[in-house]
Symmetry: C2
Subunit: 338 residues, 2 copies
């Protein structure tokens, strides 16, 4: 008979006892205090190892320690734009000993009362909101929050780090214009970022004295939306030679629509996306896109968060707008006949 009673995990007292020291000393060792003799330190560490001791995050938090955890709210795991954001965050936070807890907003929608409740209950030290902020996202005063990636939808007292979507939209559009395209279209959606990118598109098109259609799918910015929007665009304006999609996922849908029409990319139709997500860099797509600097956005968010968490000073709220960058790949070229 194996004793498999879920024997509750060992505590700091257990470690103290087997190491022959006081619980306080164990605590000091675990938190890396310099004023502990080498002998005791090793004794404690051995006891830890032997017992398989893992400090209770709960007890530590309760006892006033900070959780050293930053909550990150993502909108949807399926759209990969957040990957480099997360990476930038991670890299900016790790050196300061902060860990990240990720939560998918749409997925947890039914579980919690509010989208932030889980994180608030676990007393995260800070929050990164990488979605369109909703009014339900009420944040307690004093909790450092950074809205990353979106600059619309205000969260009171939150810093904002985002790339300049409007500029990015202009960049993408100007790239198409410079290649010689005059009949272009934009595939857009309902989100804030999409709106700004559409504005950039409009800016660039108007600056050339052109008019160009903006089409949407079902309002979201999925592959399906991109596909539908592109079909509609190609129906209504068959002479179109270039398409700017609000993000890479939509661009993927546009590529599908183009193929369906027998249009080669980029020979017959140029397609440009936005986000420089992992799928854009694949051999299959080689999608020209706009790098929204998500890694840098993440790094900047990390930096802001660390500053706010570690300093007591009352820093003013800041908005940082990073400059997007064109990522030319193989999905854009000049139009067949100028």
């Amino acid at each position: 008979m194996v004793n498999s009673r879920p024997s509750r995990p060992p505590t700091i007292y257990d470690v103290a006892r087997t190491a022959g020291v006081s619980k306080s000393l164990v605590s000091l060792v675990l938190r890396g205090s310099p004023s502990v003799s080498e002998a005791r330190r090793t004794a404690v560490l051995e006891a830890v190892e032997q017992l398989g001791y893992r400090p209770s995050q709960a007890a530590a938090t309760l006892a006033g320690a900070t959780t050293r955890t930053i909550g990150v709210v993502i909108d949807d795991f399926r759209n990969l734009w957040f990957v480099s954001l997360l990476q930038g965050l991670q890299e900016g936070l790790a050196p300061h000993g902060f860990r990240i807890a990720v939560s998918d907003h749409t997925m947890n929608a039914h579980v919690e009362a509010g989208p932030l409740d889980g994180f608030l209950a676990m007393r995260v030290d800070g929050l990164v909101i990488a979605t369109e902020p909703t009014p339900a996202m009420r944040v307690p005063v004093g909790l450092p929050v950074v809205v990353a990636g979106s600059r619309l939808g205000v969260v009171l007292g939150a810093d904002v780090v985002a790339d300049d979507d409007r500029l990015g939209g202009r960049l993408a559009t100007e790239h198409l214009l410079e290649l010689g395209h005059r009949r272009l279209g934009h595939l857009t959606g309902d989100g804030g970022a999409a709106r700004l990118r559409a504005e950039g598109f409009r800016d660039a098109v108007r600056a050339r004295g052109l008019r160009a259609p903006e089409v949407r799918g079902a309002g979201r910015t999925t592959e399906e939306d991109g596909y539908r929007a592109a079909r509609r665009l190609l129906d209504e304006a068959p002479a179109t030679t270039a398409v700017f999609a609000a993000n890479d996922t939509m661009a993927m849908g546009a590529l599908a629509a183009a193929r369906e029409r027998g249009l080669r990319v980029p020979e017959d139709l140029s397609v440009i996306g936005y986000d420089d997500s992992p799928i854009a860099a694949t051999h299959l797509l080689q999608l020209t896109t706009v790098d929204g600097r998500n890694a840098e956005v993440g790094a900047a968010a990390a930096e802001r968060l660390v500053r706010r968490v570690t300093t007591t000073a009352d820093e003013p709220v800041r908005t940082a707008l990073l400059t997007p960058r064109l990522m030319p790949r193989s999905s854009c070229a000049g139009p067949r006949d100028g």
Copy 2:
């Protein structure tokens, strides 16, 4: 001057005071006890609302409550196979009041000492390991653990829920054979799932008395690996008419290689993937693939976990193998000339 001192969050005592009741009563209300008078209940809830009170997860956990949280270890956010797994888990867990905490294994590799330490420190009620388990994943006795998606790499005392990768590999291969292909190849990688799928491939090929090459990229199963492996395959066996890739991501690379060689899919080359990940269902790929039943795997994992967490009985370790299913789409067809 606004008082923006990070005033620490209100406690249960604050709520009790403003509601004019005892802290215990507040606790009862919050945990939905039936034996609380309506008057007090509303008084408490109003106080909660007014103060913006959020119970401290840490204190609750420490005081003996369970965390109602299941930790999920994912290998890499970029490979989307886990999405439906997560969804299945979520749906199975939510009705029982469990929440999910996700962590990306490769991303957190540098942060924590062990891959599970974060979860252990937060005292999760159970664990889902959706990666190849590594020896470093030592799990405390009594903690319910389910290894999901992979059946190799044993974690002591853990249940296993996975699809039958070997059978799936056979299914995929037989599909190609039935379509009439005789010159086929397999793109594989180093992981355990890949190994099993390769075995299935071998089984099916041998059963027909054929021989067929298995190629790998750099050992992983990324798009890049798929691309490189496919190129190599097409170099070495240019007459190949069908390719079975170890997963959808690799299949995507194979599609790229095919296009580069001027091979149309499926007319000149059939490509089948594995996982039925979100990218397979896109309009652009319409990839024939094998559904690894990840949603069901997730659901089954949830069910096992809930059972183990809520019953004290000492259930024996179980391995459940779900039957994979072919998902025919448009990337496979018969060979041009039989």
